[in-house]
Subunit: 337 residues, 2 copies
């Protein structure tokens, strides 16, 4: 099974971006792997600043950068012609080029040629990895925590990264396992699980979190939702391959329907918990939802507190907002697992 | 969404096969689409006979054949070097070459070249189709029946084809929708659903059974099983995209565990029924298991009758063995749907 492995540290390419929302990837990298972000490079007119040193490709390469990462996603998700000269220069300087855009880098002759000159790789995060491993269903040593969701975009990656960070601070043995593009950029490796052929999804998930010390925790980034009419298959395959000992249910406090799927109601939280536990039982009968992570960005402070208290009373589970709450008390409960 | 569409009628290639088990594909074609099988071609030493006229490629092409189909699967699943001359001749005669073997036809220079000469296509049934459609979850007109299973290889394809055939005899409006290689060869079109990237599995299933007359039945070939630790994702995606009005649960009478997955017990049949209905409810809350199809090949006639009667008493559903039983009474119940 081929995991993507990305050469770090990064030079982050910001292009001529004027809208900070287009720079979500770049901002995520600085938030979660600041130490891997050596420098930024922007073009005239760029309005986004990551507060990293500004370097050109040769300066960055001389300073030890291994890759240039496209940290922005303009509408349409294509590489803009006016970026090409600079990206070519980066490749010729020996930096690898990492992109999660829709453009297939190999289709761009200029970039392909420049890559050859600099002996640099063109790394496309959207490309389906060559994963042809059928899941075995066999249990393996080590502990696994998977974030699962009531919908897409409810904080599964953010929650997994927050837990991983807090566990490291507590000196627990842990590894973050990335399953999506931004997660892979942050961690430097992983498998874009939704790009794997459906027959091999569970096999890919098994290989992503291999056997480990009995007290080691893999914190696995979840994908999709069992309640999503388009992506439920990805979610189920990831659950069955991950064999999670613990799951964290992620939910956006104000969401009642699947985003962009009007009429598809999110079930009540206790029902979501049962469905995830029933599904996970196939490969790990002891799998339990052990906490609920709430994206409460649309609530004020008083409403947030009330919401979390009510949810805790309803489910008897630790309920937290990973942006605002200290996760240490919750993580202490995982020590006994 | 690109469905595979296969040029018929077929010349069936039997090679030098001595073992009838290696000729399962060829036998399935003769069983289910006899009218599309124009002729057979065998090599010295071949011990399998489909009782079709023996023709060489030019004779077959002259008689109207459009494709040569590799109807055999030797151990290892590769194209044998000694077949190459004959396959080349077929391609040069203008026949398309259809294969479900592991060999990537395009990798074989001789065949690629011969295809160009004859203006013939090399069609690989294992190749992932270019399916990049995200499921909408929207209901569509027409009725759909999906075969689902307690495991792989329990008769989902056979059951779907039997129902389709019986429905046609009753002059009901119906289409068989193939999701696997042999099914696609029989029907002449379809989508190998387990080769679709996981993000698009439900979308592929939606496009495979598009809207239709309100009294038209798509009979959709099921794949995998919800209880299979490796293939559950394929099954769930196919269910959510198919939005079946009716499901037939297929089971092998003597099987208690998932084949080749010791320790993975098949749940009791009533529990299997509930799990399938609960899963299907996401995109079609009225979806029901309406019958149980039993592969009883390992039971004698008396045991078979007893088994089916007990199962009927337990589930209150029509229970049948599609090889031995007349499906007409069961299909009459579908008229009222």
């Amino acid at each position: 099974m081929k995991k993507l492995a990305l050469p770090k540290p990064y030079l982050i390419f910001l292009g001529d971006t004027r809208n900070i929302l287009d720079a979500k990837t770049a901002l995520g990298l600085v938030d979660w792997c600041r130490d891997d972000c050596l420098a930024q490079i922007s073009m005239p007119g760029c309005k986004v600043d990551l507060n990293l040193p500004e370097m050109n490709p040769s300066q960055a390469a001389a300073a030890g950068a291994k890759s240039i990462v496209i940290g922005i996603a303009p509408t349409g998700g294509q590489i803009k012609p006016e970026w090409r000269e600079l990206l070519k220069e980066a490749l010729s300087s020996g930096l690898h080029l990492i992109s999660g855009l829709h453009t297939d880098l190999e289709d761009d002759e200029t970039l392909r040629e420049a890559g050859r000159t600099g002996n640099s790789k063109l790394i496309n995060l959207r490309k389906a990895p060559d994963c042809k491993l059928v899941a075995s269903g066999k249990n393996r040593t080590g502990k696994r925590l998977l974030t699962v969701g009531t919908d897409c975009c409810v904080g599964k990656k953010y929650t997994a990264l927050s837990i991983y960070k807090a566990m490291r601070e507590l000196k627990l043995k842990t590894t973050f396992r990335a399953t999506g593009q931004t997660g892979i950029l942050i961690s430097g490796e992983g498998i874009p699980i939704d790009a794997v052929v459906s027959d091999f999804v569970s096999g890919a998930a098994e290989s992503l979190s291999p056997e480990n010390d009995h007290d080691h925790w893999d914190i696995i980034e979840g994908q999709g939702s069992l309640f999503h009419p388009a992506y439920s298959a990805v979610t189920l395959g990831l659950i069955h391959g991950s064999q999670p000992d613990a799951m964290i249910l992620c939910h956006s406090a104000t969401r009642t329907e699947i985003d962009e799927y009007p009429g598809f109601c999110i079930p009540p939280i206790p029902e979501c918990i049962s469905k995830y536990e029933e599904s996970a039982a196939l490969t790990n009968p002891k799998s339990r939802v052990v906490g609920i992570s709430i994206n409460s960005s649309e609530l004020d402070s008083a409403s947030r507190t009330e919401y979390l208290m009510k949810l805790n009373a309803l489910t008897k589970l630790p309920c937290f907002d990973p942006i605002n709450d200290n996760l240490t008390p919750f993580l202490e409960t995982l020590r006994s697992y």
